[in-house]
């Protein structure tokens, strides 16, 4: 069935196989938890540096155990349930948030030798297998589906709190995450074009054979993926869902204790997963030079974590630097810029593929393609401008009407 692509599972399933799979799942789970702990510390330390502060310093060396301390503190705090909350959903929501965050990581290949045509298998207890928990044939879609499900956690948390700020937060969350999922999906679709597969493992193998997708798809999808991914994570500058200054805490305003900790955990876990997916799709996954043959298996892991760290650093950096978008500006960016751009680029890359297949000359195709895209973009922006002008006119008319009625009142 769904796991069949892994060489581990090809020759039938016996006890060793089951144990290996369980081991992989367990290690991934533990790894993710520890990673989250460290990432939270990393973010706090880094952002403190950027803001002329010291940050956590007391728990453990350099405050590295701060997250653990916070977790323990939260665990022992009182668990509040608002009176007007919808009890079942209120309790359910944190799990809807954290489970997709855990599961999505399962498809990421974290190691294995992909250099020199290696197919990324490692041998473990005499069996060869991939260093990823599962490699479903529709792996990337699996990730998209899970990130779609993750919206429920945020949304239901806000709704079920029975309070206004969380409700506003969850209304924002639903619209935002759906909108940016479209852009995210279209950016990923370009990767499908260049890799010809939906399986994460195949995508990584394909990149090691040719060039990394970030170049093969021409940077633009990567940029769109990064922006849309940040929005999908509700990280600044797209953190309208939480927006402390406006909505207090957004969807998790009413949450406390361990439930709040779950949200916190899932947010950072999603951050790691999103970084890992970006590395897998665009930056060749664990690929990188094997410097020493002695502990060769370490290098892919090392490159993978290095790349992920680069993304994590970027996310923190963005948070330290940028103000937040407004809701309508966010929607404008998503629908009027990112989605059309992703779609247009997708079409351009597809055209180039077809042109290469049919032996058309590249340069005229590129020129015509760009011209067509430009035409489409100018049509779109023309329509947007016209609509804006009309709306302004309408608003003016409305203002005149109210002014007229006000002066009429004055005379009366």
């Amino acid at each position: 069935m769904i796991l069949a692509a892994d060489p581990l599972l090809v020759d039938g399933i016996d006890l060793t196989v089951v144990l290996i799979v369980l081991l992989k799942a367990g290690v991934a789970f533990a790894l993710l938890l520890v990673a989250v702990m460290l990432v939270i510390w990393f973010e706090r330390k880094l952002i403190s540096d950027m803001q002329n502060r010291i940050g956590p310093a007391l728990a453990g060396p350099w405050g590295i155990l701060q997250t653990l301390a916070d977790g323990i503190k939260l665990f022992f705090k009182e668990d509040l349930l608002p009176t007007r909350a919808d009890r079942v959903v209120f309790r359910l929501a944190p799990y809807l948030s954290i489970i997709p965050a855990f599961v999505a990581f399962a498809i990421v290949p974290v190691g294995g030798d992909f250099s020199d045509g290696g197919d990324g298998t490692v041998s473990m207890f005499g069996r060869s297998t991939f260093l990823q928990v599962a490699d479903p044939p529709v792996g990337v879609l699996f990730f998209l589906a899970l990130s779609a499900v993750a919206v429920y956690g945020v949304m239901l948390a806000g709704w079920s709190s029975g309070s206004k700020y969380p409700l506003l937060g969850s209304v924002r969350a639903s619209a935002q995450m759906i909108s940016y999922e479209a852009a995210l999906g279209l950016a990923i679709a370009t990767v499908f074009l260049s890799s010809g597969s939906l399986s994460t493992h195949d995508i990584v193998v394909g990149q090691s054979a040719t060039t990394w997708n970030v170049l093969a798809t021409g940077i633009v999808p990567f940029g769109i993926f990064l922006i849309a991914g940040t929005a999908e994570l509700n990280r600044p500058p797209f953190d309208l869902v939480e927006a402390e200054q406006e909505l207090v805490g957004g969807f998790h305003t009413e949450y406390s204790s361990i439930r709040f900790a779950l949200f916190f955990l899932s947010e950072f876990m999603n951050m790691i997963t999103m970084s890992a997916i970006a590395v897998t799709l665009f930056l060749g996954g664990p690929a990188g030079p094997i410097v020493t043959q002695r502990v060769a298996w370490v290098w892919p892991l090392f490159w993978f974590f290095l790349k992920v760290m680069a993304f994590l650093f970027t996310f923190v950096w963005l948070r330290a630097t940028l103000p937040r978008f407004r809701y309508d500006q966010l929607m404008d960016l998503g629908w009027k810029v990112l989605i059309p751009a992703a779609l247009g680029w997708f079409l351009l890359i597809a055209t180039l593929d077809v042109a290469a297949d049919l032996g058309w000359p590249t340069i005229p195709v590129v020129i015509v393609g760009v011209l067509v895209l430009w035409g489409g973009a100018s049509l779109l922006s023309g329509a947007v401008r016209k609509a804006q002008a009309e709306r302004l006119e309408e608003a003016d008319r409305g203002a005149d009407e109210t002014a007229g009625s006000a002066s009429g009142l004055g005379e009366a």
Partner: protein, 196 residues
């Protein structure tokens, strides 16, 4: 194994569907719908239609039901909805009768046709899980290409319609149809006149 998965997901699907009908709170109903959709996705996986399974979750659970919830939250229909009011007398028993008879009809069909549900085998099998996505794509661009193109028109119509209906007009509206609006007399002068 397959039978077990089938039974579990069938229970999930059916209980979710029942939940949609029986839940009093629209948000809960929507969540039951998600449950059903997940069960269906699992059934798809069972049939090696992994692409459909993923897309089912992405599109239905990830977008459509979310939009349901969005509307429910924005309009706040989860609060003030009195199901006790019955605008057309006797429609509930009638609906029950019609629904039961429809269900009975379909049940009869299933029971009667126990020997063979289909007269003809469906087209060729759509390949194993790995091949499935490609085959689906091929079908969409060969046999079903016209349907795909029509879907484009359909979606355009829907978008145009939504935008046209969401538009707010300036200028006067037509008066509401006269259906017994109580006349409210709130002329303060008259009221004080009565008192003094």
């Amino acid at each position: 194994m397959e039978v077990a998965v089938f039974i579990v997901s069938a229970v999930v699907v059916l209980s979710g569907a029942l939940g949609v009908l029986l839940a009093r709170n629209p948000v809960h109903a929507a969540l039951f719908l998600v449950q059903t959709l997940f069960g269906v996705a699992v059934l798809f996986v069972l049939l090696d239609a992994t692409f459909l399974a993923a897309v089912q979750v992405m599109v239905y659970a990830g977008a459509i039901v979310i939009l349901f919830l969005f509307v429910i939250m924005l309009l706040g229909v989860d609060r003030a909805d009195d199901l006790g009011i019955e605008p057309i007398a006797g429609q509930r028993p009638l609906a029950a009768v019609v629904g039961m008879s429809l269900a009975g009809l379909l049940a009869t069909v299933l029971l009667v046709a126990v020997d063979g549900l289909t007269g003809a085998p469906a087209g060729t099998p759509i390949g194993d899980a790995g091949d499935n996505t490609r085959r689906l794509g091929e079908a969409l661009f060969t046999d079903m290409v016209f349907a795909v193109e029509l879907t484009a028109i359909l979606l355009t119509v829907a978008v145009v319609g939504a935008v046209a209906l969401a538009r707010r007009l300036s200028g006067p509206m037509q008066p509401l149809p006269v259906v017994a609006i109580a006349e409210v007399d709130d002329d303060p002068d008259e009221a004080t006149g009565d008192d003094s």
